[in-house]
């Protein structure tokens, strides 16, 4: 679905990262780990075509990103940014309907079919009861899920989520992670970033460690998330512990204990 080769990315006049290469197949879930300022968001924005790449190639569904229009990209990739509260008071349904834009003509308004797609996206996230509420009057977690619903309304093949659990409480974090895993099982590729290695263990099939704009390692989480890689990435010492029920978890060692 997504193929990135020797990508150099950054802002006009300033390269933030280089030599990043990875592939994402349909239904695969990949987590990008890295410290703040390491280039995660910039990488995502480049993959979405919001920033121009400096060199290398990005291929979406076999087509180079340069050959796609904005709407073309939007029909393939759904973007879930970090939510904020400065929106106008659109209803949740209207908000999610905005996701249908890429499928509409320039002068068209959403039809009954589009309403159906939006409602189903809300239902799949358990949010249908909030459809008529203003988006400014729901909780932070619900707003994050509304953003996911909006991205789903695009009927994309790839979902890109930028730190989807930041500023969410524990319960909402878990719910979002569950949804992501479930979506992956429906055949949508998922690319998300996180600051918590445990999220990679919980729902990612592969992890990409991004430090200073360079891909440190790419591979299965239990292979790439180790004490030494975490030390290199975050400058802290951790223990990676295997759990009795299967899976792993990453525990920081405070003050060397």
């Amino acid at each position: 679905m997504l193929k990135v080769e020797s990508l150099a990315f950054g802002f006009p006049g300033r390269t933030v990262g280089r030599d990043v290469s990875f592939e994402l197949a349909a239904g695969e879930v990949m987590c990008v780990l890295g410290p703040n300022g390491g280039g995660k968001t910039t990488l995502f924005r480049t993959v979405l075509g919001l920033l121009e790449k400096h060199s290398g190639s990005i291929t979406l569904d076999g087509r180079p990103i340069e050959s796609l229009s904005r709407a073309g990209i939007a029909r393939l990739i759904g973007y879930v940014p970090q939510g904020h509260s400065g929106y106008f008071a659109y209803t949740v349904l209207d908000f999610v309907l905005m996701g249908r834009t890429a499928h509409l003509g320039i002068f068209s308004a959403p039809s009954a079919k589009d309403h159906g797609v939006a409602l189903r996206a809300l239902e799949s996230l358990g949010m249908a009861h909030l459809a008529e509420r203003p988006v400014t009057e729901i909780s932070g977690g619900e707003r994050q899920l509304a953003l996911v619903a909006r991205a789903l309304a695009q009927e994309p093949r790839l979902l890109v989520l930028d730190e989807p659990t930041a500023s969410l409480d524990f319960g909402n974090q878990v719910r979002v992670l569950e949804r992501m895993a479930a979506l992956g099982r429906t055949g949508i590729s998922i690319l998300f970033s996180s600051h918590d290695p445990d999220h990679a263990f919980l729902c990612a099939e592969r992890a990409l460690l991004l430090a200073e704009g360079r891909a440190l390692e790419i591979g299965a989480p239990r292979e790439v998330i180790r004490a030494d890689t975490m030390q290199r990435l975050y400058g802290v010492s951790v223990q990676v512990v295997a759990l009795a029920a299967g899976g792993h978890t990453c525990l920081p060692s405070l003050n060397g204990r």
């Binding site: 919001l50 940014p81 106008f88 002068f107």
Partner: protein, 335 residues
Amino acid sequence: MSGRALSYLLAAGALLALTALAFAVGRYPVSLGEIAALLFSKVTGSPHSLPANVETVVLQVRGPRVLAALVVGAALAAAGTAYQGMFRNPLVSPDILGVSTGAALGAVLGIFFSQGVFVIQMLAFAGGLAAVGLVYWIGSRLRGHDPLLALVLTGVVIGTLLGSAIALLKYLADPYNQLPAITYWLLGSLASISPRDLSVAAPLALLGLAPMLMLRWRMNLLALPDDEARALGVDTRKLRTVVVAAATLMTAAAVAVSGIIGWVGLLIPHAARLLVGPDFGRLLPLAMLLGAAFLLAVDTLCRTIAPIEVPPGVLTALIGTPFFLWLFALARRSW
């Protein structure tokens, strides 16, 4: 009937009632019966027995003025609505990119060089378009900044520059003759509206309205941060260009014939949003209805409460502010 549909119906009804009232009142006494007889004769082509003055007042003076108030009010409200959505800021007025200041400079130049009414209006229209063109051109060249912030800052800067040019012209103008004329133009007025003014301004305003109506659903996406809108498939730069061009065309056409009338473009979109929410497709028609009704009410007062004309900008602020505060206190929704 839903709350929204009710709002529409009430607004449309209020507008019709106001229009009929506006036709019926004025310094020159004309009865409703006379108006009816006149309109009937014009429609059927049969002659009427009314004095020539009555026909002149109703068809040449009052009629165009009432219609112009509707057109200008609707145009300013529409432009304000578009800009408040585009700049994601409920405190934005149609003049944020300098169209009124540019039009004022054009008109002041016309007065300074002792031109006739038509030339002054053309200069005002051209000045408004040129000012925004300049702001937009400079603003879009400023790379590396949030595009909206670049536009707003450029608008403020250029607006100030044009404002100082106007101040200079006021200073150099002949204080007995030109300066009062300049002052009156800047205060705004619909007193000198002619049928020709209407026949030029209305089509231009419609020309600006057309793209806004056609793109009304897509314009909702401008309320999102730029990255999000683009990720959803919208070419935000192109859409903004169209919105700015359309809003500028409407505002420049309005200001060219009416001078500067403030508050309509700022307050009315607010009021409409409090009633029906931010969805542009529902917001735009209501804002235009309310804007037309508001300016018509204000202008009718301006021309009837005294033998002399009261500047409409004064009344829009005096009436609009308490009305808006009342609406704000009543409303149960946020922006």
